[in-house]
C-alpha cells in the first residue's frame, strides 16, 4: 500500500515536471535539467469553491464568456436572501434571446493561485434550484480560459424549483494535479421558450463520493470509426466522454481528450499526442485507441479510429510564375486570387445536388465536389472577373471515379450576369481525354467561348456533368495572358 502511494506521487510529480519543461522549452529550446532535481511541487487541495463567499477564487470571481459573442455579463451575482445552506447563494439571471446585452449567460470561476490539486476528489458537487423548471446547457469544470486542458462538463441539466444536489464526476482525478478551472456554466432560454429565469447554486465544492462509480470511458462516442486520409493531414479525437453511474443513475461527462492515454498501432503511419491530435505521416493503416487512468486504475476505452493514409496527396501541378498583370486568378495557391462569393452556391431549388467546396489538405487548398450535377464558382456579388485582356482560361481537374463513354464535364462562363448576360460553354473532353485519378490540365483559348460578347465581368464559372461524373477535385482556376 505504501509503495503504491509512493509510485503515484512520483507519477504526479512527473506530470508536473512535464508541464514545467513545456514552458521552459519555448524560451531555452531545451530542458536539460534532470527531472529528479526539480522540487516536488504540490498545490493546495482546497475543496470549496463557493460556500457563502467565493473560496480562493480570482478577484473578479466570475469571468464571463466574450460579450462580443453574445454573452450577457449583467445577470451574475450573489443572492443574500436565498441559500441552500448558510446565508447566500450564487444567483444567475438567464436573459431572453432579445436581450440587447446578450442572449445567454456563462463563464468560469478560476482559482486565484497557481491551481489546486484535486486528485483526492472524484466529483464537483453543488445544490441548485431555478425559478421555473429549466434546462441548463453546460455545467462543469476544467475550463480556465488558458489551455482548457482538462475541460469536463455535463449537458442539458434539468433544474426544478426545489433544491437538488448535482454531481459532476471527474473523468480521471489523477490528472488534476494543478487545476485552475473551478467551475463553468452556460445557460440560455432554449428550454423556457425564450422566457428569462433565474437559477441559484450553493455549496459548490469538490468531494470524494462513493456514490460515483462504474466509469465507462469512450472516444468517438464508442464507435469503431474509419477514415481515409493523406500524409500531413491532422485529425482530432472527438466524442470523448465518460459515463458514470451516480447512485444508480447514468451521468455522461463530456471529457477533454487530454484525460485519456492514446496510442497508435503504427506510429510511423499516424501519431497521436497527449491532446488527442492525430498526425498522418506515411502510407498505411493505423488504429488509434485509448485507455483511461494509470497503473492499477487503467481501464480500456470504447471506440477507436482506424486511419488509412493513401500516402502523399497527389496535388495538382504548380502553375508557372507569371507577372501579376498576366493573370486573373480565381482559385490557386500559386497566385493572388481575386475576391470570390463562394465555390459552391448550393442552388438546391434549381436542382443542384453538388456538395463540397474548398478544402485544405496538408496545408494546401483545393476544391472537392461530390454528387456533382452542376456547380458554379460565383463572383457576381464580389464584382466578377475582368478577363478582357486574358487569352486563356486554365483549370486543373482530377476525376475521382471511372469515366464511362458518355460521361462529360461542360465548362460554362457567364459574363455580366443578369438581363444582358452572355453565356458560352465548351466540352472539357474536347481538349484532354477524361480519365480517372490523374490531374488533367486544361488551357482553353478565350476565343473558344464564342458566345460571349465580352469577358470583362465573368460572374459565374459552371461545371456541368448532368451527374455523369459525380466526384472531382478542381484546382488552379485562373485566366492568363500568353
Amino acid at each position: 500500500m505504501e509503495n503504491l502511494k509512493i509510485t503515484k506521487d512520483i507519477k504526479n510529480n512527473a506530470i508536473r515536471i512535464r508541464a514545467i519543461c513545456f514552458s521552459i522549452v519555448l524560451i531555452t529550446f531545451g530542458c536539460t535539467r534532470d527531472e529528479l532535481d526539480l522540487p516536488n511541487a504540490t498545490f493546495p487541495a482546497i475543496a470549496e469553491v463557493f460556500t457563502d463567499v467565493p473560496v480562493n477564487l480570482t478577484d473578479e470571481f466570475f469571468v464571463s464568456f466574450d460579450p462580443a459573442e453574445g454573452a450577457n455579463t449583467n445577470g451574475f451575482g450573489v443572492d443574500e436572501n436565498i441559500a441552500y445552506e448558510g446565508t447566500t447563494s450564487i444567483r444567475i439571471d438567464v436573459p431572453g434571446p432579445a436581450d440587447p446585452d446578450g442572449s445567454f449567460i456563462g463563464g468560469i470561476f478560476k482559482d486565484r493561485g497557481d491551481g489546486r490539486n484535486l486528485t483526492s476528489y472524484n466529483a464537483l458537487t453543488f445544490w441548485g434550484r431555478a425559478s421555473t423548471s429549466a434546462t441548463i446547457g453546460t455545467l462543469g469544470f476544467g475550463t480556465d480560459f488558458e489551455n482548457n486542458t482538462y475541460a469536463a462538463s455535463i449537458s442539458d441539466v434539468a433544474f426544478t424549483t426545489g433544491w437538488k444536489k448535482y454531481i459532476i464526476p471527474i473523468p480521471d482525478p489523477a490528472r488534476l494535479v494543478q487545476e485552475k478551472g473551478m467551475f463553468i456554466f452556460s445557460a440560455g432560454t432554449q428550454s423556457t421558450e425564450g422566457l428569462g429565469y433565474t437559477f441559484w447554486i450553493d455549496e459548490l465544492k469538490f468531494e470524494n463520493l462513493a456514490s460515483v462509480a462504474q466509469p465507462l470511458p469512450q472516444i468517438f462516442d464508442g464507435n469503431e470509426q474509419e477514415e481515409t486520409s493523406f500524409n500531413g493531414a491532422t485529425v482530432r479525437v472527438s466524442g470523448a466522454n465518460v459515463l458514470f453511474n451516480v447512485d444508480g443513475k447514468e451521468v455522461a461527462v463530456n471529457s477533454a481528450p487530454a484525460y485519456f492515454n492514446f496510442s497508435s498501432s503504427d506510429p510511423a503511419v499516424a501519431g497521436v499526442d497527449d491532446l488527442g491530435i492525430i498526425t498522418v505521416k506515411s502510407a498505411g493503416t493505423a488504429q488509434i485507441t485509448a485507455t483511461l487512468g494509470e497503473s492499477e486504475n487503467e481501464r480500456p476505452v470504447n471506440g477507436s479510429l482506424t486511419v488509412t493514409s493513401e500516402g502523399n496527396f497527389d496535388f495538382a501541378p504548380t502553375p508557372p510564375a507569371r507577372d501579376a498583370d498576366d493573370v486573373v486568378s480565381i482559385f490557386s495557391d500559386a497566385y493572388t486570387n481575386i475576391p470570390v462569393d463562394n465555390y459552391n452556391g448550393f442552388f438546391t431549388p434549381d436542382g443542384q445536388t453538388t456538395l463540397g467546396g474548398a478544402i485544405t489538405v496538408a496545408g494546401e487548398n483545393l476544391i472537392s465536389y461530390t454528387n456533382l450535377n452542376f456547380v458554379s464558382i460565383n463572383l457576381f456579388n464580389t464584382g466578377g472577373a475582368n478577363a478582357s485582356t486574358m487569352t486563356h482560361l486554365h483549370v486543373d481537374i482530377n476525376i475521382r471515379e471511372d469515366v464511362g463513354s458518355g460521361d462529360f464535364i461542360r465548362l460554362q462562363l457567364i459574363n455580366n450576369n443578369g438581363e444582358t448576360e452572355t453565356s458560352s460553354s465548351i466540352q472539357l473532353g474536347d481538349y484532354v481525354v477524361l480519365t480517372k485519378d490523374t490531374w488533367l490540365e486544361f488551357d482553353i483559348p478565350m476565343s473558344d467561348f464564342s458566345g460571349l460578347n465580352a469577358t470583362d465581368d465573368i460572374d459565374l464559372i459552371f461545371f456541368v456533368s448532368d451527374a455523369t461524373i459525380s466526384s472531382v477535385y478542381v484546382d488552379n482556376v485562373y485566366f492568363y495572358k500568353n
Partner: protein, 279 residues
C-alpha cells in the same frame, strides 16, 4: 424473491419489526463450524459444480411469477467461473428465444439443502435500472414448477431472501421472509443502506443466522434485522423449520425493479466469491 409481486411496498406498509441497527451489535457466538461451501475455484469458463448446483432454464410462468424479462440459460456466457475463484452470472441484452435479455439462475435443490445455521455469500452485485440480483432460499418441499396451483405451493413452502437489490439503488439491499399470509407485498422485510458506499463496487458479505425460532440478517457482519415467530402476522405459520435450498440469480425487469431503460448498461455481472454454510 419468487412471486414477490409487490415486495417493494412491503417496506412501507409491512409489519412493524424489531430491528437492531446500532453502531455495534453484541453478537451471540453460536459456535458455528463450516459444513459446506462452494469457493468457485476452477477454470475460466467452467460451469459451476454439478455436485452443488442445477440450472433453471427459460422464463418460468409469467416471468418466474414476477413478469421478469430475461431468459435463463446454462450457457457459459451467462454463468461460469472466472478462473480467479469467482462465479460470474452475466445478464446480457440480446434477443434469445423470444426474450430481450439472457441471464442465469442456479439452485442447490436436491444437492445441498440445509436446516438452520449461518448461510453466507461474499459477492459484488450488478447495477443499473432494472437489474435485480438475489441470494436467497426456498423451502425444499416446494412443489416443482412455479404454478400457483401447486398443492404445496409457494408461499407456504417458505422463502428467505438473504440479499436482493434494485440496480437503480446500488447502495441498498433488502432481507425478507415470505410465508403463508406474509408473502409478496406483505413479506416481512427490512432494508440496509450503505451511507457512503455501493454494493456493486466492492465485495460484501451477506448472511443469515437461522435457528428454530430466529432469523438474523447481516451485511458485512453487521446485524440489521432480527426476525422470529413474533415478527410474522398473528395466527400465521412459521415455515422456517425444515430444509431449504440456495438460489443465486440475476433477474432483469419485473415488478420489483421495473424494466431497464435506455440508459441501463449491459452486460451486467454478479460476481460471487463463495457461498458457505456453517452449523
Amino acid at each position: 424473491m419468487k412471486k414477490i409481486l409487490m415486495a417493494g411496498i412491503a417496506g412501507f406498509i409491512g409489519i412493524p419489526l424489531y430491528t437492531a441497527c446500532e453502531d455495534s451489535n453484541p453478537l451471540p457466538d453460536r459456535g458455528y463450524d463450516l459444513v459446506w461451501s462452494d469457493e468457485f475455484d476452477g477454470t475460466t469458463g467452467d460451469l459451476p459444480s454439478a455436485a452443488n448446483w442445477s440450472f433453471e432454464i427459460g422464463t418460468g410462468t409469467n416471468g418466474w411469477g414476477n413478469r421478469e424479462l430475461q431468459y435463463y440459460t446454462d450457457r457459459p456466457e451467462n454463468v461460469s467461473l472466472d478462473g480467479k475463484g469467482n462465479l460470474v452470472i452475466t445478464a446480457i441484452e440480446e434477443s434469445f428465444e423470444g426474450s430481450p435479455y439472457t441471464s442465469a439462475r442456479i439452485i442447490t435443490r436436491d444437492k445441498q439443502e440445509f436446516q438452520y445455521g449461518r448461510i453466507e455469500a461474499r459477492l459484488k452485485t450488478p447495477f443499473s435500472q432494472g437489474l435485480w440480483p438475489a441470494f436467497w432460499m426456498l423451502g425444499s418441499d416446494l412443489e416443482p414448477g412455479d404454478a400457483v396451483t401447486d398443492t404445496v405451493p409457494w408461499p407456504r413452502a417458505g422463502e428467505m431472501d438473504i440479499m436482493e437489490l434494485r440496480g437503480q439503488e446500488p447502495g441498498k439491499i433488502a432481507g425478507s421472509i415470505h410465508g403463508p399470509g406474509y408473502a409478496a407485498g406483505n413479506a416481512v422485510t427490512e432494508s440496509f443502506e450503505l451511507t457512503d458506499g455501493r454494493f456493486d463496487t466492492d465485495f460484501h458479505i451477506f448472511a443469515i443466522e437461522w435457528g428454530a425460532d430466529f432469523i438474523d440478517f447481516f451485511v458485512d457482519n453487521r446485524l440489521y434485522s432480527r426476525l422470529n415467530p413474533e415478527s410474522i402476522p398473528e395466527g400465521s405459520e412459521w415455515v422456517f423449520d425444515k430444509k431449504y435450498f440456495i438460489i443465486l440469480n440475476v433477474a432483469v425487469g419485473g415488478a420489483y425493479v421495473g424494466s431497464p431503460n435506455s440508459n441501463s448498461r449491459f452486460p451486467q455481472t454478479m460476481i460471487v466469491d463463495y457461498v458457505r454454510v456453517y452449523q
